[in-house]
């Protein structure tokens, strides 16, 4: 830095030693390499007192780090997990969290700060230039390698015994197949799992809150209910896999306000059941506005109009939410009239 700001330092009269000798441009060589600027000493290189001060500073930082580690262990032992303290400006905070974080932070910071201070003030800072080797080998070395290779090839009889050569190539080519075959264990193909859910004809719609089957009279205009298929219980091993596809959002809209003809046909007295899985990337979508009948996805703001076939009215979703055709059975409970007629959730390559 200094050599660029103070060009005078580069003049021959300023040079102290052979190190950093600066070539001077003359007529014979107008673009001579200026070389390294002269080395400058630090206070600690000249003044032994200053060097000792630096040593003490570094040692102090390392000592603080040790003490902080001791404090970390002590606070781990001392503070109960639910003790809360008030610390300005953070407010109320768990005493354990705060003390563990602070002491560990101080311990690590002081090691780093000590190391930086040590390197900057005491470790040698004399500039060292290390010229790059030529990449190319000497001609004699190259000739010897080629000769050795030719001799080795001749001695191995690789060129003469073609049977050995061909079978060896075959063996080497076959070996990677083992690795390729193991990729099969990455998992079975989804097959038609993306196209089907647990819903089928006659399955009751079960309220997620009460675990009881729903009746049409339970669902009021303006209310929002989440339903799962009958028989799927939360402790089932595949509950998450199945509910991720089968989750339903049930709302009731005055039949006069339903604009889509098929939606009205597939509903029961205005009770409509839509998939809760967004058709964009599959977030659970249930931000239902009861006055506008819009359902908003919290991930990317896709908005669906539940009174118009769950058509996309805003956002990146590509398909309307799939609707489940529902009706009532003889006992008056809401039941499905089959599975969804299209895959639920985000589009995939073969969806069509």
């Amino acid at each position: 830095m200094s050599s660029q700001e103070n060009p005078e330092e580069n003049l021959p009269s300023e040079q102290e030693s052979a190190h950093g000798a600066v070539a001077v441009a003359d007529e014979a060589d107008p673009f001579a390499d200026p070389g390294l600027p002269p080395h400058e000493h630090r206070v600690q290189d000249i003044d032994e007192q200053a060097a000792r001060r630096s040593e003490r500073t570094v040692a102090l930082l390392f000592t603080i780090s040790m003490l902080a580690t001791v404090a970390f262990i002590a606070s781990f032992v001392a503070f109960p997990v639910d003790k809360s303290v008030y610390i300005w400006p953070i407010g109320h905070i768990s005493a354990l969290n705060f003390s563990l974080g602070m002491t560990l932070g101080i311990a690590l910071f002081c090691i780093g700060a000590g190391a930086v201070h040590w390197a900057r003030t005491l470790m040698s800072d004399v500039e060292v230039a290390d010229d790059r080797h030529p990449i190319e080998a000497e001609p004699e070395v190259k000739a010897k390698v080629m000769a050795d290779f030719a001799a080795g090839a001749k001695e191995s009889q690789l060129g003469r015994r073609k049977l050995i050569r061909n079978t060896m190539f075959g063996a080497l080519a076959m070996v990677p197949l083992s690795g390729v075959v193991l990729l099969r264990d990455l998992g079975p193909l989804p097959e038609d799992k993306l196209r089907h859910t647990l819903w089928s004809k006659g399955k009751l719609l079960v309220n997620m809150n009460t675990n009881e089957p729903l009746r049409p009279s339970d669902v009021q205009v303006g209310s929002l209910t989440f339903a799962k298929p009958e028989g799927l219980e939360e402790h089932d091993h595949d509950f998450q896999t199945q509910i991720a596809k089968a989750a339903l959002m049930i709302v009731r809209i005055q039949p006069d306000n339903i604009k889509d003809k098929r939606e009205l046909e597939w509903s029961h007295e205005g009770v409509v059941a839509y998939s809760k899985i967004c058709t964009h990337v599959g977030c659970p979508i249930s931000l239902y506005e009861q006055q506008t009948h819009h359902a908003l996805c919290p991930c990317h703001q896709s908005t669906f109009d539940l009174s118009d076939g769950a058509r996309v009215i805003f956002g990146p979703a590509g398909h309307a939410l799939p609707q489940l055709k529902i009706g009532v059975n003889e006992e008056g409970y809401l039941e499905a009239h089959g599975d969804f007629d299209e895959p639920v959730g985000p589009a995939f390559w073969e969806r069509g």
Partner: protein, 269 residues
């Protein structure tokens, strides 16, 4: 007067006149505002409906119609029930100050006695949910863990995981549930105010509502303590990540620049 007229061409004269005009309009409005004038006496319970009707005629009928039948400016109130009135008026959302995307929570204008009278009148128009009793809304003895599950299934999509609230479409929003009384939470679930869907007893029984209230009291109540200190809005990884990127990385860069900017050489340049 001469002094005043001499300054009528002052550059700020227009501003002063405008401010005076605004103050006069505002003052007159405050003096004649319907809500303030509608003073109802303490009356016997049997007269509550009559009193409520008077209050309604002054404060609500301009939008909701003279018989609660609704108009282009406000929905019908037939069948919304006393709980809806207690929630809307008791949180200051009604009477509405101005039409907009959503009626915000504001200062409550009516006394609880007046709200009860209004509620009695609206309840007389058509059957609807009643104002819950103290016992119905009390979080005592409720299952907080179950309430958390129910909250995450039914409420968290709009109100966020601990009831911090969030944005909806076209300027609408789900408000924060911090500091909302158990009664008002219960009434909101029961009646579905504005664009919030309702969660009637048929799909979410009384017990479940109590559990939810207890959960909110535990995670977002007056005595709730955040073990992590700064909550950063309680919005989850977005605000926390932003904080770490800006302040955490910013501090690291600042330290690195500070270390490198100071020369260790004896001869300062």
């Amino acid at each position: 007067m001469k002094k005043l007229s001499a300054r009528r061409r002052h550059p700020l004269a227009a501003v002063v006149v405008l401010l005076l005009a605004l103050a006069a309009t505002g003052g007159l409005y405050a003096a004649f505002a319907p809500a303030d004038k509608a003073q109802a006496d303490e009356t016997a319970q049997s007269l509550a409906i009559d009193e409520g009707k008077k209050l309604y005629a002054v404060g609500c009928s301009s939008c909701h119609g003279t018989g609660g039948q609704g108009s282009s400016d406000g929905p019908s109130l037939v069948g919304v029930g006393a709980a809806a009135v207690d929630f809307q008026v008791g949180t200051g959302r009604m009477p509405l100050q101005q039409q907009g995307a959503q009626a915000p929570k504001k200062k409550v204008i009516y006394s609880q006695a007046q709200i009860d009278q209004l509620a009695a009148y609206i309840a007389s128009l058509g059957a609807g949910p009643n104002i819950p009793t103290e016992k119905q809304v009390s979080p005592e003895g409720a299952d907080i863990a179950k309430g958390g599950e129910l909250f995450r299934t039914n409420c968290a999509q709009c109100h966020n995981f601990t009831g911090e609230g969030g944005a909806l479409t076209h300027g609408k929003y789900a408000p924060s549930l911090e500091g909302v009384s158990p009664k008002h939470i219960y009434e909101a679930m029961q009646t579905g105010p504005q664009n919030m869907p309702s969660f009637p007893d048929t799909t979410m029984p009384e017990k479940a509502k109590k559990d939810i209230i207890a959960y909110l009291d535990a995670v977002n109540g007056e005595k709730t303590e955040s073990p992590g200190g700064l909550k950063l809005g309680g919005l989850g990884p977005v605000s926390e990540g932003l904080f770490a990127w800006i302040f955490g990385l910013g501090a690291l860069i600042a330290v690195a620049v500070w270390v490198a900017a100071r020369t260790a050489k004896a001869k300062k340049s």
